[in-house]
């Protein structure tokens, strides 16, 4: 049985504890990378990460992109939506089609 975790700055993620997800507040990049790797190698199937944090450790986030588990999903934090999550979907389209033909107009 797998679990779910949320990674990010404390203010953005503390509420997810109420839903029963594992909350991992991190502050600096090195700590975040270490924690993400620990979660990914553990029995976590879904890891939500704030866009702001994912932007700071792109290498670690993309490492698991082509593996079946875990699914690392970017979510907007309390400090606003950076658009990184949507950009990520576009990246998939670009990778598959060669150019962004679906969402380039919005």
């Amino acid at each position: 049985m797998y679990r779910m975790a949320v990674l990010g700055d404390k203010d953005s993620i503390y509420g997810y504890a109420a839903l029963g997800m594992e909350v991992c507040p991190v502050t600096d990049d090195a700590q975040a990378s270490r924690k993400l790797r620990e979660l990914a190698e553990g029995d976590y199937a879904v890891i939500y990460i704030t866009e702001a944090l994912a932007e700071r450790i792109p290498g670690e986030v993309n490492r698991y992109r082509e593996q079946m588990l875990p699914a690392i999903i970017q979510i907007p934090g309390v400090y606003g939506n950076t658009g990184a999550g949507v950009a990520n979907v576009r990246k998939s389209v670009e990778q598959a089609v060669g150019s962004d033909i679906l969402f380039s107009n919005n």
Binding site: G15, G20, A45, V78, V86
Partner: protein, 223 residues
């Protein structure tokens, strides 16, 4: 310059390889097209789900910010310290055109919806309750988003790989085999012609030896 041996055996071998490559090319192309069709459908779902989740989280985040502003850090921390609810996911791999995509089924420890409130209501504001319930409202969509977005990422990677293979077969391997086959069959034809000519020449010489046509001709001309 081709570096193949112009032999009949090599020709047979190459023809076999060309047949396999063409078959593989056709199959991979079909795989790519079907993957692409499914991917395009899925990625549209992904985008709309993401927009919905981000919208929901925006509201939730705003509510949490509000709730936090009205309470001390300690109160908030204590409120979420002992969570009543626990969430678990069951993962079932699903095979889509040889891509394994995970499917998530969420199981919560208790089925009681009010268990998301892990605190007594005495010390916390009602803003916090609103915040938690607005977050719970997007939870199902978030799980769905995780599933769909992961599937999109995996399929995108597979499509890229397949596309490269199709291109390599179409533009490099198959033309190379065709060129080699042509070279060998030309070479074999040429060898055959040169043998034919040599035989004709030898036959001429042997006839000359036996009948002395030339000498007779010369005598006739002189006589």
């Amino acid at each position: 310059m081709p570096t193949v041996n112009p032999t009949r055996m090599e020709l047979t071998r190459l023809k076999g390889k060309l047949a396999t490559a063409s078959r593989g090319h056709k199959l991979l192309k079909d795989k790519r097209d079907e993957l692409m069709r499914q991917f395009l459908d899925l990625v549209r779902v992904n985008m709309s789900l993401r927009q919905r989740v981000e919208e929901g989280l925006k509201t939730a985040n705003k509510n949490f910010a509000l709730a936090r502003a009205a309470m001390s850090d300690e109160t908030v921390e204590v409120a979420f310290m002992a969570s009543k609810q626990e969430i678990e996911v069951e993962v079932a791999p699903k095979n889509v055109m040889s891509v394994n995509i995970p499917q998530f089924t969420v199981k919560t420890r208790t089925s009681d919806e009010s268990d998301i409130y892990s605190y007594g209501f005495a010390f916390t504001s009602s803003d916090l309750d609103d915040a938690v319930s607005s977050l719970a409202a997007v939870q199902a969509d978030m799980v769905k988003l995780a599933e769909v977005e992961k599937a999109c990422q995996l399929m995108a990677a597979e499509i890229e790989k397949t596309r490269r293979r199709v291109n390599a077969l179409e533009h490099i391997m198959i033309p190379q085999y065709q060129k080699d086959i042509k070279y060998i069959s030309m070479k074999l034809d040429e060898n055959e012609r040169s043998t034919q000519i040599r035989l004709m020449k030898v036959k001429d010489m042997m006839l000359e030896e036996a009948h002395h046509y030339k000498e007779k001709e010369e005598k006739k001309a002189a006589g």
